[in-house]
């Protein structure tokens, strides 16, 4: 049982950032803009979020600081993503161009600024956020240790974002319009929806969530930020596609990936798996191979947004 709790708790640290960022990607792509800049935006969000903590940790601590930092990360991600929005919406450029540019720009910029400001590349933060056990909830049998012990508030933020995303996409006017813009922008335009505005909104939400995801990625797993999110932006992109651009499937995909990654790192603690004659590197490969195999059997009907990647041009029919 303990080992199960442990795996679930641990899975959160992998799955939640992937989830948040992939959901961000969903908003962008379902509005019609491919966003391969998630990685770069995560770096920016991580940088400003951690930077904020670093500056303010002398004055405050605990959950308020973390929540404020999340806000900062989200805002900076959203602002950074404006560059992508501008290029791919206003300039109608190929959307991989600005995505690639942003991915390259972010780490270079972060190293440059960090070195200029503090001389050191890494930004340090004090972890005053770890939750050993959530009061009351943490004591509920089974559920308590599964979800409310050894966690970070980011876990709940992430789950909240997931639920909220599902609702926004499927139940609100904005969601309906966003989906229309990603599938058939001419149709949206013909009923008076401002496709450009909606796409801006989609990209900025993706920026905000990717920024938050950057911070959420770092807080539970390190004690400093070093200009990288280790390729998790690209993994989130994979989760997004794996999840067929649909909220519930993205949640499933993120947790699938999270569990596989956890098993790959923590297999030595799991009695049955430990004794198998399989090496570390093979375990590391398993999540990726499993994804490939599952995709091979489940991709016949892709549900990619139809207008994804195509710049919207009012004049074209």
């Amino acid at each position: 049982m303990d080992i199960l709790y442990f795996i679930v708790q641990q899975t959160m640290f992998f799955a939640i950032p992937l989830l948040i960022v992939a959901l961000g990607g969903m908003f962008s792509e379902r509005s019609g803009v491919v966003n391969i800049a998630l990685e770069g935006i995560m770096v920016m969000g991580g940088f400003f979020g951690i930077g904020f903590m670093h500056i303010f940790e002398s004055r405050m601590s605990g959950q308020p600081l973390l929540l404020l930092a999340l806000l900062v990360a989200g805002v900076s991600g959203a602002l950074f993503s404006l560059l992508h929005a501008f290029a791919s919406i206003n300039l109608k450029a190929d959307q991989t161009i600005s995505g690639t540019a942003l991915n390259m720009f972010a780490p270079a910029f972060v190293v440059f600024v960090a070195r200029m400001v503090q001389g050191v590349q890494q930004i340090q933060f004090k972890d005053t956020f770890h939750i050993n056990k959530v009061p009351v909830l943490g004591s509920i049998p089974v559920i308590g240790p599964l979800l409310f012990q050894n966690s970070y508030v980011t876990t709940y933020v992430g789950l909240g974002i997931a639920i909220l995303s599902g609702i926004v996409i499927n139940k609100t006017r904005f969601g309906l319009r966003l989906r229309a813009c990603g599938e058939h922008p001419q149709a949206a335009d013909s009923v008076g929806i401002n496709v450009y505005k909606i796409r801006y909104a989609g990209v900025m939400i993706s920026g905000a969530l990717a920024g938050i995801g950057g911070l959420v990625f770092i807080v539970p797993t390190s004690t400093n930020f070093n200009a990288t999110v280790a390729g998790y932006g690209f993994l989130a992109l994979a989760v997004l596609i794996f999840g067929q651009w649909r909220t519930n499937k993205i949640i499933a995909a993120a947790f699938f990936f999270g569990i596989m990654k956890t098993l790959a790192s923590a297999y030595s603690g799991i009695p049955v798996i430990r004794d198998l004659p399989i090496s570390n590197e093979i375990y590391k490969m398993i999540p990726y191979i499993a994804t490939l195999v599952i995709l091979a059997f489940s991709s016949k009907n892709s549900q990619a947004p139809r207008a994804e990647g195509i710049p919207y041009d009012k004049g074209s029919r």
Binding site: V120, Q124, T223, N224, K261, S268
Partner: protein
């Protein structure tokens, strides 16, 4: 992230110690000219990486500031002999008279350059110049090679921790590079030695042992450490740059302990019980000193160990309850006097006289090594 995937190798840099660098930028103002006498070439990591680069850089900085010398570091474009050669030549162009090269990767490049620039001095850490494809050391008169007995530092940590009463240990190396291996072997032998002293039963000390495959803070590393702690491991020797940050994170969550590496990491996290240190800073600073006093020990290769205070545990900042300063002095003495033999990566041999493949081949009785591959 083209670059984020490129994640640099040794990018550790746990924080506080890294305050070294603000002054690094200050060198600009210090020098009106664009000439810098003392140069350091980083390997692909950075000067705040908690490893060779940072330790060496601190040494450069300490000496240069005290003696009012100009100094500067250079970062190669990639990790290859030619790139290092290019950087060395860039440094010489920048006026370098003595160049510090941290890491065994510099062995071939320094060998090339020591011949090409006989007027420039080279200090190579953890390596010895040799020709490509050969292993025969060829230290020219303008080169000085320094090794460290990491196994002794590791031994001290292993000894202290078992003396402190811990019996469920972990070793998480970054990549199996020689220095990391020496730390690990030393750690296991130190634990064994203490267990023997305490008269513990055979196999009563557990040691989980792995190399994680990188020097980064990643969720994977954090998860691995967390799973060890979850299984009962009490203390992990985190021996791989930023890997330590992930291990500390896991320790904080689990309420367990961490042993730091290379430099004193006590300020990184309250979970750091002690650090297994080698004195990079002092050795580099000393080497620079010899150059300016015309006593450059060119042509030599030395191994700094306990006898020269090349290794240590920072007893002032360590959070031991039982293991006392006296215990420390006593064991340090024994090491200095060579009363204990500590095998390293080249001297630990198996029955057939071949270098052992991994730590499970070490001749241990009380410590049970479980290799996690």
């Amino acid at each position: 992230g083209t670059k984020s995937n490129n994640g640099t190798k040794d990018n550790t840099g746990n924080g506080t110690e890294a305050t070294a660098t603000p002054e690094a930028t200050a060198t600009t103002e210090a020098s009106g000219s664009d000439q810098y006498e003392i140069a350091l070439i980083t390997d692909i990591g950075t000067i705040d990486d908690k490893s060779f680069n940072q330790g060496a850089w601190e040494g450069v900085e300490a000496y240069a500031k005290e003696n009012n010398k100009t100094y500067k570091y250079y970062k190669p474009t990639e990790k290859s002999d030619e790139a290092y050669v290019t950087s060395i030549e860039l440094a010489i162009k920048g006026g370098a008279k003595i160049i510090v090269c941290p890491g065994y990767m510099f062995e071939v490049p320094v060998h090339t350059e020591q011949a090409k620039y006989p007027d420039v001095k080279f200090v190579i850490l953890d390596g010895v110049p040799h020709e490509e494809g050969s292993t025969t050391a060829d230290v020219a008169a303008n080169s000085y090679s320094i090794f460290y007995a990491e196994q002794e530092a590791g031994f001290l940590a292993g000894y202290a921790i078992v003396k402190e009463g811990y019996t469920k240990l972990g070793f998480m190396g970054g990549i199996a590079v020689p220095a990391v291996i020496r730390y690990g072997y030393g750690f296991a032998q130190g634990a064994e030695y203490a267990a023997k002293e305490l008269g513990l039963a055979a196999g009563s000390v557990d040691l989980k042992y792995t190399y994680v495959g990188n020097f980064d803070a990643t969720p994977d590393n954090q998860a691995k450490a967390a799973s060890w702690y979850n299984e009962g491991t009490e203390v992990i020797f985190a021996c791989g740059g930023a890997v330590g940050n992930s291990v500390m994170k896991a320790a904080e969550a689990a309420g367990k302990k961490v042993i730091g590496v290379d430099v004193d990491q006590a300020t990184e996290s309250d979970t750091v019980i002690t650090s297994s240190m080698k004195n990079l800073k002092k050795s580099v600073s000393d080497a620079l000193g010899t150059f300016y006093t015309n006593a450059f020990p060119g042509g030599k290769s030395v191994t700094l160990d306990a006898t020269t205070e090349g290794v240590e545990l920072p007893m002032d900042t360590s959070k031991f309850a039982k293991f006392t300063k006296d215990d420390y002095t006593a064991i340090y003495d024994k090491i200095v006097k060579k009363e204990v033999t500590i095998l390293n990566d080249t001297t630990a041999l198996d029955k057939d006289g071949k270098v052992i493949a991994d730590a499970s081949g070490l001749p241990l009785e009380n410590v049970k090594v479980q290799m996690v591959k």
